[in-house]
């Protein structure tokens, strides 16, 4: 590289001629970062719409959550529930009545005041018959909503729901103003520290500071912020080095991360996420219906090798559907560690001494393709033949695997935080049915005691680690690359987000 491009100064004139002189000199203002109250944040994929209450894409929340929209509660950078538009709350001893004291003096960006009627509207919209909220299930335990006065919201639940306050912090539960709800998809109006200003489709979303932000304890330093969407990892890298983008909180290609080492302008900040890469198996289809087969396959997997091959060694092996970020995490990678001989023996015991063959439906994303290829080689060691069938994600994967459960094995990163309950859902693509597991999760919801809940989450993790309904592989890292002078971005991602509230430039 260095030798090829060390001619920089020598042929400047020749290059100018080649460039036909047009626009070269005029490019500078565009490439140069604006004054120090603006930040440009890079994202790989552009969201479809900007209303997190009607679309499931994590990118919607990554632009709007905590920046434009806020919820009754919020989730802090450590993954803990904190009050937000609800100042405080009181839970009845039976866990079925929640009384929220709402914050006064909060205004939406269009000037409308936030009060209990707005909160009621938001929750009714999310749980109603024609709701298209992607997390509607989280609101269905609400039986009735009462608004005794403008600052009080009382929820009566059908059954205790221990995770309710946590779910209320999610992007899908943000408060929306009735008159703008229908247009939030293209023109989001919230209560947050930033006001939506423009969306150049295919390019960027611009936000500007909300001068009337209710939370006077926070001094928001950025006057403007842009999210720029750059799909190609090479283009992401070029935009970072050229200074067109100040930060890529989730850089797209782990194999390019090393290229930023020694860069005196850019910092590489590797944190953790909630993205659990798991190879789900169809638990109702032979031979995966046999627990021993699933356990044997788990023991055939060298997780460290998968992480190395799929994600350049950046990632944390997991032994259950849970991440080190999550409350009550237990390291269960030792339950079925990599052991070829034991795997073979267990496979023989299950009646497959000569192995078997099956098809892996792998999405086209790099992590899925690479992981599949490594799994294929690892399974071959125990005599199991895996054919890889690339399945277009999301469209065909959602249709074939998620909806129709027509597959043997698949691999995908589950992005939603604390989603261990997917193994209790019926129908769900794993076709895993274990009443014991469901009972543990039901106890979590029935309990209002945090330490009791943590203990129960530990039990749930252990059941999955033993049953292996899916091969638990690794948690993806958050590959943050950003300007060394840009401070305040979250290092970890307990919930998919790009919270800009504290982002500022250091002089």
């Amino acid at each position: 590289m260095q030798t090829i491009f060390s001619w920089s100064q020598v042929s400047r004139r020749g290059v100018m001629a080649l460039a036909l002189g047009a626009g070269v000199a005029f490019a500078a203002p565009y490439a140069q970062a604006a004054p120090k109250t603006a930040a440009t944040i890079g994202m790989t994929v552009e969201p479809g719409g900007l209303d997190p209450t009607i679309g499931a894409q994590v990118m919607i929340g990554q632009v709007t959550w905590q920046n434009v929209f806020e919820g009754l509660t919020t989730i802090d950078k450590a993954g803990k529930v904190q009050p937000q538009l609800a100042e405080s709350w009181d839970v009845s001893p039976d866990g079925k009545t929640y009384t929220f004291k709402l914050r006064q003096g909060v205004k939406f960006h269009n000037g409308v005041a936030f009060d209990s009627s707005v909160a009621k509207f938001t929750l009714d919209r999310a749980r109603g018959a024609d709701s298209v909220n992607p997390q509607k299930r989280y609101f269905t335990s609400i039986d009735t909503i009462e608004t005794p006065d403008a600052a009080t919201l009382v929820l009566k639940l059908k059954q205790p729901t221990g995770s309710l306050l946590y779910w209320f912090g999610w992007p899908a539960a943000v408060m929306v103003e009735p008159s703008t709800a229908a247009d939030n998809k293209t023109n989001p109006v919230g209560t947050g520290p930033f006001v939506f200003s423009n969306w150049a489709k295919g390019t960027k979303v611009d936000l500007k500071k909300n001068a009337d932000y209710w939370n006077k304890d926070i001094s928001v330093k950025l006057e403007t912020a842009s999210f720029r969407f750059i799909n190609d990892p090479q283009a992401q890298s070029a935009a970072l080095t050229a200074g067109d983008v100040d930060a890529f909180p989730e850089f797209g290609a782990p194999e390019l991360v090393a290229s930023f080492e020694g860069n005196d302008k850019l910092a590489t900040v590797i944190g953790n996420t909630e993205l659990k890469v798991v190879a789900g198996m169809n638990n109702s289809r032979k031979p995966f219906s046999d627990k021993k087969v699933r356990q044997a396959l788990m023991m055939a997997v060298d997780r460290a090798m998968v992480v190395e091959g799929a994600w350049s060694g950046l990632g944390t092996p997991i032994g259950s559907h849970y991440t080190p970020n999550d409350r009550g995490y237990k390291d269960l990678t030792g339950v079925y560690p990599y052991d070829v001989e034991k795997a073979k023996a267990l496979l023989a015991e299950a009646g497959y001494p000569n192995g078997f063959s099956f098809t892996m439906k792998a999405p086209q994303m790099a992590y899925a393709q690479r992981s599949s290829q490594i799994l294929q080689a690892l399974f071959a060691e125990i005599g199991v033949t895996m054919n890889i069938e690339t399945t277009e994600f999301p469209a065909k994967w959602v249709a074939d695997v998620l909806k129709a459960a027509d597959y043997d094995m698949t691999i995908v990163a589950h992005a939603e935080p604390m989603d261990i309950d997917i193994y209790a859902r019926d129908p769900y693509y794993f076709n895993y049915k274990n009443p014991e597991f469901n009972a543990v999760l039901a106890k979590v919801e029935a309990s209002t005691d945090a330490s009791e809940q943590d203990k129960l989450y530990g039990e749930a993790q252990t059941i999955l680690a033993n049953d292996v309904p899916a091969l638990f592989l690794f948690v993806m890292p958050k590959l943050g690359i950003w300007d060394k002078k840009l401070k305040g971005l979250w290092e970890n991602e307990p919930i998919p987000s790009n919270v800009l509230t504290e982002v500022h430039w250091e002089e």
């Binding site: 626009g23 479809g48 024609d130 293209t186 799909n231 283009a235 070029a238 050229a242 999301p394």
Partner: protein, 315 residues
């Protein structure tokens, strides 16, 4: 003359109708449904049903096809499922990038290829011909997106003269817009210029062997005058055909280069719509591409009539 013209127009409309039916059928036969994609992995069946109704995906296919066609005829291309805005606006926004990009690339391509091809033909088998040949082969063999990457590394990353990608929008100023398009246009133009050089060279060579060029030389015209006044005009038909093909390719097929430079062009809109199964956007964009190819062919045919008076006689 007029009757040729009318016949062409009628066949153009019939073709477009058939194409629209094909597009609609193919797009709606694709596996995957946009509502399920939008609602993700946690959606309940009721939410999915509610969204399908809202999006009008419950209607029978025939009804949806006719509604789409009726809309298109009235200039209403429908609403994007993902963006939630009218598709016509999206296409116009993207054309504001793609059209100037394609024009810049085609102008560069012609500016390089026609002089090069003519010169190579005049020095047939000479050193210059070999050099021009080498240029063609190399520029055809090297993929445009790779040229784009090299340009970015050289002029953006190393020298910092040019933006590394993205498009500031035309309201950021004419020069800022052109600067953002310059490198992608070069990357797109080089392979096209390679092809066009070969076509121009062989067309001129063919014509130079004809009797009328020899006659022109015999009546005392210089070699150069014979080429520019007699050979080149007669060699233009294959060249114009190729330019027409290249232009449609540059509009619809620039997606790899658009990705490298992160340009919000029409190709990327199509790709994005495909991955999200934004069926209505896909239908409209593909119909637009098809219409463009058909209209381009029509225009190229008209250009033949201008270039070659013999074709103006009704056949």
């Amino acid at each position: 003359m007029i009757s040729i013209f009318l016949r062409r127009i009628v066949s153009l409309i019939v073709t477009l109708l058939v194409v629209s039916l094909l597009i609609f059928t193919v797009m709606n036969l694709l596996p995957g449904n946009p509502a399920a994609i939008m609602l993700g992995t946690s959606a309940t069946p009721e939410t999915l049903a509610a969204l399908r109704t809202q999006m009008g995906l419950d209607e029978p296919l025939v009804v949806r096809y006719l509604a789409w066609l009726a809309g298109v005829l009235q200039g209403d291309l429908g609403q994007s499922y993902t963006y939630g805005v009218p598709v016509a606006g999206l296409i116009v926004e993207r054309l504001a990038v793609t059209l100037p990009l394609a024009l810049m690339a085609i102008v560069m391509s012609v500016a390089i290829a026609v002089p090069l091809g003519v010169a190579a033909a005049r020095r047939h088998n000479g050193l210059f011909d070999y050099l021009a040949g080498a240029f063609s082969y190399v520029s055809i063999a090297v993929p445009a997106f790779w040229v784009g990457l090299l340009l970015i590394i050289a002029f953006s990353t190393k020298l910092g003269w040019m933006p590394a990608g993205g498009f500031p929008g035309w309201n950021a100023g004419l020069w800022a817009g052109l600067a953002a398009l310059l490198m992608p246009a070069i990357a797109l133009a080089l392979p096209q210029a390679g092809v066009l050089t070969r076509v121009a060279r062989s067309a001129v060579l063919d014509v130079m062997g004809e009797d009328f060029v020899r006659t022109a030389r015999a009546k005392g015209l210089s070699d150069g005058a014979a080429v520019w006044r007699h050979a080149l005009p007669n060699a233009l038909i294959p060249v114009v055909t190729m330019i027409g093909l290249q232009f449609t390719f540059l509009i619809a097929g620039a997606v790899l280069v658009e990705n490298v430079f992160n340009l919000p062009g029409l190709g990327r809109l199509a790709l994005q719509a495909l991955s999200q199964r934004d069926i209505i956007v896909m239908q409209d964009v593909v119909l637009f591409f098809s219409a463009l190819v058909i209209v381009m062919n029509f225009l190229v045919d008209l250009a033949y009539l201008v270039i070659d008076p013999r074709l103006r006689v009704a056949t």
